[in-house]
């Protein structure tokens, strides 16, 4: 008689190649890189059209900026519900958004249209939210 007290349910795992494809699809001529990272800044997946740059440091800086603004929001607005950060810089534009406790970061050229990048970020986050959420629950 076999007596299992726990049901052995399948684990939820990340298919890295598929994730990479998804990020790749969002690329256009204006977009330089797309990075998916943990809240601490560790890279989970990335696509980088600019081979000179290292995604690791960009990711670390982006996550740092995110946590600074979350902290700021807690102090000033009494809310940690940060939705999106958009940075319009001289040498490039950045959009940082949140998908199931991971950060999605899109790096674009200065010529890119911010509205378009924002839309892409929102769509990607919406698309990735559910699968990433089920991934988190397993831990």
């Amino acid at each position: 008689m076999n007596d299992y007290d726990n049901e052995v349910s399948s684990p939820c795992m990340l298919k890295t190649k598929v994730l990479h494809e998804i990020l790749n699809e969002a690329h256009s001529s204006d977009i330089v890189g797309i990075v998916l990272m943990t809240l601490e800044g560790s890279l989970v997946a990335y696509t980088n059209r600019n081979t000179d740059e290292d995604s690791t440091s960009s990711a670390a800086i982006a996550s740092n900026i995110w946590s600074s603004y979350v902290h700021l929001g807690q102090m000033v607005l009494y809310s940690d519900d940060l939705d999106m950060i958009m940075i319009d810089g001289k040498d490039g534009q950045v959009v940082i958004s949140n998908a199931a406790n991971m950060l999605l970061c899109i790096f674009a050229k200065p010529s890119a249209a911010m509205g378009l990048i924002k839309a892409k970020a929102q769509i990607l986050c919406r698309h990735l939210d559910k699968p990433l959420r089920s991934l988190k629950q397993q831990g």
């Binding site: 052995v8 939820c12 990335y46």
Partner: protein, 307 residues
């Protein structure tokens, strides 16, 4: 669940040293301190959590050996799962060694005919490197012939290199309940990770208990080499009062991760696609952990019921 393992062989053939290195965290140098084993030394070694290997390290001095074959015969040779017979490659009494071996086999045939038999040609480090293979093949042929109708598997071993791990990994592999279930799951795991290779080590001994290989590799001895290297590293960590938990090795050709996995195992994942970030892999390993934990628990329990 207890499995009885007999470790036999002439006096000073290296049985206790082997046992100490694999199961008691001795390094090769430490075995110099060991003295002759008196009569039979019983050790119960926990392996993979619930599995208890009941190792009968039988002292090899003649007086004891005579005893085993007469008054203690039934007691010693009954219910044996595995017989490991150790031959010292430099022995000057080959005839006598073979005679004792055959007497053991007779006792096994009578009391535990289903037992698996392993012959370890030990102390191979004392033989010149270019002659090792030839001498081993010669002994192996003789032993296989003498062992009929029983079948024996031969290994050449030395405590000074990884060959010891290869022999013991193969021996212990046979004792693991439901190994095919574990291997099937490991295969699926490897496929999802898109890894080149995944190894499962037993936590205490670092013997490779299962592996899944997707990409061909030229070195067939890599498993035991890795066991040896990581075990040594683990021992040096404990000497510094810290516990070995995980390791990441990266170069331009591959990335390898060694992580604590279930309660009783460590996992090693090797990936040649270095563009995949570590975090993604570590997330996957973490998520698979619970699943393999449950499998392990169920396997060990159902194995017990199966007895």
């Amino acid at each position: 669940m207890k499995k009885k393992v007999l470790l036999m062989g002439k006096s000073e053939s290296g049985k206790t040293s082997m046992r100490s290195i694999i199961f008691a965290n001795y390094i090769a140098r430490d075995t110099r301190r060991l003295g002759a084993t008196i009569d039979v030394e019983h050790s119960h070694v926990r392996f993979l959590g619930n599995l208890v290997l009941n190792i009968w390290d039988c002292g090899g001095q003649e007086a004891f050996m005579e005893n085993y074959f007469t008054s203690q015969r039934d007691n010693i040779f009954r219910n044996v799962e595995v017989l490991i017979y150790v031959f010292d490659v430099e022995s000057s009494e080959l005839e006598k060694d073979m005679h004792y071996y055959q007497t053991c086999l007779e006792a096994i045939l009578q009391n535990s005919p289903q037992a698996r038999i392993f012959c370890l040609i030990h102390k191979m480090d004392l033989v010149q490197e270019d002659q090792r293979e030839a001498i081993f093949r010669e002994r192996e042929e003789d032993l296989k012939r003498l062992s009929r109708p029983l079948e024996c598997t031969c290994f050449r071993t030395s405590i000074w290199d990884e060959t010891l791990y290869k022999a013991w990994s193969s021996i212990v592999y046979l004792l693991i309940p439901n190994i095919s279930n574990l291997e099937n799951n490991l295969k699926k795991f490897t496929e999802i990770l898109e890894a080149d290779e995944v190894l499962l080590f037993e936590k205490a001994t670092f013997l490779v208990i299962a592996h899944c290989q997707v990409k061909q590799h030229h070195d067939i001895h890599r498993f035991e080499k890795i066991s040896n290297i990581i075990k040594q590293f683990k021992l040096s960590c404990s000497k510094m009062q810290s516990n070995f938990q995980s390791m990441e090795v990266r170069n331009s050709e591959f990335a390898a991760y060694v992580e604590e996995f279930t309660n009783n195992t460590f996992v090693m994942v090797v990936i040649s696609d270095i563009a995949i970030p570590s975090t993604a892999l570590l997330i996957n390993i973490k998520n698979a952990r619970k699943y393999f934990d449950k499998i392990e628990k169920n396997d060990l329990r159902s194995g017990f019921h199966g007895e």
